[in-house]
Symmetry: D2
Subunit: 362 residues, 4 copies
């Protein structure tokens, strides 16, 4: 089963609600001997942290991670690594309305219906994107696995490539630019367009969607366990499980539908005794197995459902109401999804690396 | 682990290669007392069968299913149902070239690299889309589970909505039309466009991609196990595991990225004491849990990699060659992916129905 | 995989080391609406707590449990329940010797060898029986599941039936007696024998083994998923995973080997329209499925490996040494295994109850 | 879930009933490049085959195995290996009585109750020990995994050490003797005692229990994944899942309960730079991890429940009847459990070898 656990040989289990005392994860299957320090995990958590610009939620959380087990004298011991993050800013307020109102686009109604009225409605409870902090922490361990076991470090980088109707110019892609703007945009010019657009969205109390692209370089050939543990199938599951994601594609993705076989086939030549591909429509995966090329995943994030404009909703008692959300929220939750997408890529690759090593060897 | 097994409480394991003696699956977790007959499974297999029009592969396979276990006097016993389909048309030919050449776009190279040169190269072996016959057989059992346990039968229907650059007119959507043309098109006019387009593709020895949409009606509210067994995450994995699929989306999917929160939020009203949604941008899933609306999944299928035009490839020995594929093939493998997508939808829903019944009750 | 996770639909994942900051577990798959309070969990933890008599370890731990997630306003929400217990008495001492010496009978050598020298050696680290506190906490939740879903509460009770060479008189079995002595003995007379025996063992700095019996009453017929999720197979795995356990048996167990078919077959009659068994050699399980009779499990616990008498050991550096263990320890770790055995019985039954409800219904 | 699947990285799924057309298994996770031939699998199947002496069932089955997938040109390809055995001797007879009568000691009642009356009652259906043929076939593949990956071949050998009240003399143990008598007895003298005893049991239409011991030599140190994938916990589950098994022990097993810590601790010395144990009370496993010593498992098999003497039973309609079983049966099913126990040992070790290689490396 996979209620709250992701992965097989390398796996993590998350727990916690938006307004409970804490959240965290248990990371299991880590090889022994990895250098694990809170500060290295914190580095990745800080990239996802709220309140870092006016374009993300103003909730104040330091997201400080504590290592509770599985690490001894700075090294992983192969036993479960328990990571905990205390919730700090559970702003005291009247939750009366949210307790009784189903907000359109949120998981309020479905959790209420599935769990027969038992739910922590405060801030969305378990369905809140705050849970993704635990994913980023697990992803930090996964990155150490990849670095530890492979000769060349796997580089995993994400970027935002679309906000609302505005898409970047792929010709202007510059990875260095990603760290220079609050949107993880690889294209400086588009970042300026987004800034203006998001300011208007934010002021209107509205929200907007986005598209994220995550790329993994130096992935060895051979990862992926056909047919129901294909690398792309596991990536699709990992990414679709992120809050607000509505679509996932690999390589050419939906554009492949319009192509001919000639256009889509990535041709091959030899280079220095190695197979070299002349294109990467496949996004680094053929038959569910990595080709050795960049693994490229793209995903769509829907607009934040918390908006000021009243929308038609209903209550737990079956009354029709107008719902307007006034609290702190991300006008474009896709921005903070970038480090989460990176983390899930890292986790999937680490899991498959261990599985491949188990069945086939390295 | 999930090498060749899909699902949890309701699960199936597939086996077999394109040119081996047979292929099949073991379906486990079926509730007892379901009416299971070979003829009912055959009905669904026949929809996926090759050779039914000039637009699909001309390989001759009756795809006759045998039930080897788990059914007694026409009823499921709750024990594993083993289903086998004999391969009939393993055309005897010289496999010399395919044994040594990596065809661009195929899984030849990745299987060879992963499995250290050990692979059944004939017809793609394990990576062949012939495996999807086993999925359709498992899906037939899954449909019985859904029908047996729910008061209103879940209806699962698929359609092709794009071939190459030609997309259907959604305004003209007519489910009845789907059975009237060899493309599962819900739009008769577009079917004619596709016919002409595919004839030209076929005659050129080329191929093209496609987009499939699968819809499930009467899905009860509450299916889905957050956070890593979300209904949409499992659908994404199920669909992405189908041969040649490069993208999956739920509801509005990638279009959600361009929307505002106002546009995207499916508003709610009450009707006859039930929550009624005024839109379905969510595709029937919020927070990973079904809303009771239609579950809508769309996926992109890449063009068949087997084409006549020579493409640059390499050999197992590291030589550069031109590869041209002359055998029987589907010019648009997306067509036969429609019943496969339906089957995977059925399997995911059946699994989640049992899991939900286990944790929460029905 | 099942590194540190036990169970399927109802499952828990434990983490923590003997001398780390804390230990705990994440319980997943709990049905919604169960009454869950720290005090109710604490009740069971207190039965396993060290320091309650001179016959168990004198380590001072309050074993206070904190609920970090998954419970809202006293009710389970169906989301993961994270439970944490702080370690309080990590007596500061020089761990130099234990860091370098492999103690005979302990897991020092195997952890060191498996994890390539990376291990938390303090107090046995992850291999310490302190981890069983987390099992007891998870078992407390499992008991609520059983009580919540079944009309008659499942009663799970354990007793010690042998210490060293001294076995109880089964004819004198009195469940009420179990709470009246520090050994969980159902036979008052034998408890006195044990007291004297254990005092001599304790004073000699030695240790001794034990046999535990756990009985579950009111288990419904039908639990167990043949063939590799048989109720007895899962119980065997659950019990054998407890520290120091070396044998598990169901019903007549090893004695069945000496019986004839006539002696072993539990005959059946009807009573009030129900099947009634005239014996219970089967221990409540036939073909891996519960019969509705008492489920009876017995297990052997080896003597604590920490003893004063020097034994031949070796060091991490390959030197031969004499090892003598002077710290606090349980002279008969079997005593504190009783509540742990009960907890594992509860967990297995809860998991199978949910699985059965999922596949077959209740 | 683990209904009919055993193992994680190396896993198999079995299917089939006693009197259906066939039975078989799908073995998944096999490393590529192993030499796999039907004849090598048949070698192990022949050891379990019925009808080989007057002390086992006279059912006539050649148990001929067919390889349907996963092997190409004599080598495993890393894809699922489907193995099928046709049932040949489904003696046509009137099943009327068995259809309606619950035989004491059999799984008739529990299957009927669990699966709501849906069951294949012929010859016990799914609960028949015929399913163990599939285990032996899977075990044959597992042996190849162990041989292929390890420098010294793991030797797995089983013996019968008790029939009814008659136990072998361990001092007379001679592995060579095991192949010289129809009981797998390592002690020639006891074999003669058993022969006489079993003849009397057989003539009386009765049956008797047995104890089996399985030993694995050359198991590398480090196999086992604490805490819920301990090597001994997985062995306990694997063995307890075999038909008619009621107890499992490792090393000293239940005898450890009577020992002192001094007696039980296996002391250690160095020899040729390697840790050498001076005893093996642990049965080759400490803390759930293999020590490098022989892994020793012992298990109790209950007497066959099919006996001539009438026993009190009931019918599906709730009538009280006397049940007498006249068909072919094993007077001591423990004999044929020896190769099954060996197979399960092989499967557990192969799975753990791959898992260890995955997490830690080899």
């Amino acid at each position: 089963m996979s209620h709250n656990t992701f992965g097989h040989l390398f796996r993590f289990t998350t727990w916690g609600e938006s307004h409970g005392p804490a959240l965290g994860c248990v990371v299991d299957g880590t090889p022994p001997g990895l250098a694990i320090e809170a500060a290295r995990i914190q580095h990745w958590l800080d990239r996802r942290k709220p309140g870092q610009s006016r374009f993300v939620t103003q909730r104040r959380e330091s997201d400080t991670v504590e290592i509770l087990s599985g690490v001894f004298e700075g090294r992983s011991t192969g036993t479960p690594i328990s990571l905990m993050i205390r919730n700090e800013d559970q702003r005291s307020k009247d939750y009366g309305r949210i307790a009784e109102q189903f907000r359109p686009g949120h998981a309020d109604y479905t959790y209420w219906a599935k769990y027969q009225g038992n739910r922590d409605y405060r801030g969305g409870g378990r369905s809140s994107a705050r849970e993704t902090a635990a994913r980023v922490a697990a992803g930090a361990i996964a990155r150490e696995v990849l670095n530890h076991l492979l000769p060349a470090p796997v580089e995993i980088k994400g970027a935002l490539i679309q906000i609302g109707p505005h898409r970047i110019d792929r010709g202007a892609w510059d990875w260095a630019e990603v760290e220079n703007n609050p949107f993880w945009s690889p294209d400086a010019a588009t970042a300026l367009v987004w800034e203006e657009y998001l300011d208007s969205v934010r002021k209107a109390g509205s929200s907007t969607g986005a598209v994220v692209e995550v790329v993994a370089k130096n992935v060895p050939v051979g990862l992926g366990a056909p047919l129901y543990g294909k690398l792309d199938a596991d990536l699709a599951s990992a990414i679709m499980s992120i809050n607000a994601v509505k679509g996932v594609e690999i390589g050419a993705g939906f554009e492949a539908a319009a192509l001919t076989g000639e256009e889509n086939a990535d041709e091959m030549r030899m280079q220095d005794g190695q197979v070299r591909f002349l294109g990467n429509k496949a996004g680094g995966i053929l038959g569910g197995i990595s080709t050795g090329q960049d693994v490229v995943v793209r995903f769509a994030v829907k607009p934040t459902s918390s908006i000021l404009t009243p929308r038609k909703g209903v209550t737990t008692g079956g009354e029709e109401v107008d719902v307007s959300t006034t609290g702190r929220h991300d006008p474009c939750v896709g921005i903070r999804a970038v480090p989460v997408g990176e983390a899930m890529m890292a986790v999937v690759l680490a899991d498959h690396l261990l599985r491949h090593r188990g069945q086939v060897g390295l």
